[in-house]
């Protein structure tokens, strides 16, 4: 089953995409699979919460899983962080994400 997610890219364009819930994907991987940010500017560490290149701002009030320590720690050193910042690689695609709206944070430099 797919869920509909809206991703606002770094240029401000909104894309409504279908994200599969049965492929063990995370949000960063969905963004990459739709090529909504240039390769090499997102998901640089591969999804280990070790860089902040997949940072996004959550704009809907969708209930998300709590941040784990690694994500908290990385966000503590990331740039352009806001209260609604998340690392999209730490958000698994589940049915609860239907209607989620996120905006990509600017890339560093």
């Amino acid at each position: 089953m797919d869920v509909k997610i809206t991703i606002i890219d770094r240029e401000g364009t909104a894309h409504e995409v279908d994200a599969p819930t049965d492929m063990a994907m995370n949000l960063m991987e969905v963004i990459r699979s739709y090529e909504l940010a240039p390769e090499g500017t997102i998901g640089i560490c591969g999804g280990m919460a070790m860089c902040a290149s997949c940072q996004c701002y959550v704009q809907s009030d969708t209930e998300l899983q709590e941040k784990e320590d690694e994500e908290e720690a990385m966000l503590a050193e990331a740039f352009y962080v806001q209260d609604n910042s998340r690392l999209s690689c730490q958000i698994p695609i589940t049915e609860d994400l239907e209607g989620l709206v996120v905006e990509l944070a600017p890339s560093e430099e």
Binding site: E39, G40, C45, E77, E109
Partner: protein, 353 residues
């Protein structure tokens, strides 16, 4: 001038394994890497994390895989230029290349294999307006020579190991050390966190949390920084300091290689995947995560394969027309450049009376 057969740029798993495959063909290798230790991402980002898709290893820690590769290539005596970034490439009249690092070390080879992964690891720079104007004029992104800070005032920003470790070290060198971090929690090694707390209680480190440096000021040379506490611009204040050292870890950038005239697509180097992973410049190959072609997968095991085919092609270029057949290591053994030879023990033939 360092001379070799294949100059490899990048000491990650793909670059390291290329040394082995080249060695089987009696080709010598030299590796340049911007990091001070071999292993690339595996050593720098996740040495303690397990990898599950290396054929034949149900589970191997990234650091262990690097150790194994170093052991596997030891007898082929690769040279290393570590802690230097490949900067310039110059094609010679005979078709060979001279590659010069950012520190001026020159390397000469007929073949260049770029195994640069995601690029060279460079310090992450905080998005502070004007910070570019003060680089090396009071703003340093790494500590190269601690003596530079003797009896000077230093502001360090960051919450990881390097911020903690340098705060501890410089507490005994600098006249005063201020550590600024966005959270009250630090994620470094426990003993480093404890030591910083001790030094803080002793008055040797000033700790400002949760806070960040939002601006830098000075007339040519850095004179002060603006500190924002609690994310509240109304609390901003100015802190005089001789040096500001932001330590937010490293991130990979393709860097100068992007300007070498290679065909780049999606931040990666386009190669011929139907044959030998050569780039648009004959004699320059790109292997591992740094390259791209239809169906490319950024996997270590794919990098190993690409390194192997690249070496065959390099051999044909270095020794045109020379006979060469693939030899199984089980049959031919491995003859190192150091005189060692590994080979399968001969089976014993004896009759049973």
């Amino acid at each position: 001038m360092i001379k070799t057969d294949i100059l490899i740029i990048g000491a990650g798993p793909t670059g390291l394994f290329a040394v082995f495959e080249a060695g089987l063909l009696k080709l010598k290798c030299h590796i340049i890497d911007a990091l001070p230790q071999p292993g690339g991402q595996l050593s720098e980002l996740y040495p303690k994390k397990p990898i599950y898709d290396i054929p034949g290893f149900p589970e191997v820690k990234a650091g262990q895989l690097v150790d194994n590769l170093m052991e596997q290539i030891r007898s082929f005596q690769p040279g290393f230029t570590l802690g230097e970034k490949a900067q310039h490439i110059e094609k010679q009249e005979d078709g060979s290349f001279i590659v010069t690092t950012d520190q001026g070390t020159k390397h000469h080879a007929p073949i260049v294999a770029i195994a640069g992964g995601l690029g060279s690891f460079v310090p992450r720079k905080p998005p502070i307006p004007n910070i570019g104007n003060f680089e090396d004029k009071g703003v340093n992104y790494m500590v190269k020579d601690p003596e530079q800070f003797r009896d000077k005032s230093v502001v360090i920003a960051g919450g990881g190991d390097s911020a903690l470790d340098w705060s501890i070290f410089l507490a005994d060198v600098a006249s005063d050390v201020t550590l600024v971090h966005r959270r009250n929690e630090f994620r470094g090694a426990l003993e480093s966190v404890d030591r910083v707390k001790e030094l803080k209680d002793m008055g040797k480190i000033k700790l400002i949390t949760p806070a960040e440096i939002v601006d830098v000021h000075g007339d040519g040379q850095l004179e002060s920084v603006s500190v924002r506490k609690n994310n509240n611009p109304e609390e901003d204040y100015t802190l005089e300091t001789d040096y500001f050292i932001p330590l937010f870890g490293l991130s990979p950038k393709l860097g100068p290689i992007a300007d070498w005239g290679l065909e780049i697509e999606k931040n990666a180097i386009k190669v011929d995947n139907t044959l030998d992973y050569q780039t648009n410049i004959p004699g320059i190959y790109a292997i591992g995560d740094v390259n791209t072609y239809p169906g490319k997968l950024k996997l270590i095991l794919c990098g190993f394969h690409e390194a192997t085919l690249m070496c065959q092609s390099a051999f044909a270029k270095i020794h045109p027309g020379k006979r060469n057949v693939l030899k199984y290591t089980t049959v031919g053994g491995v003859a190192g450049f150091d005189g060692t030879k590994k080979e399968a023990p001969k089976s014993v033939i004896r009759s049973i009376d």
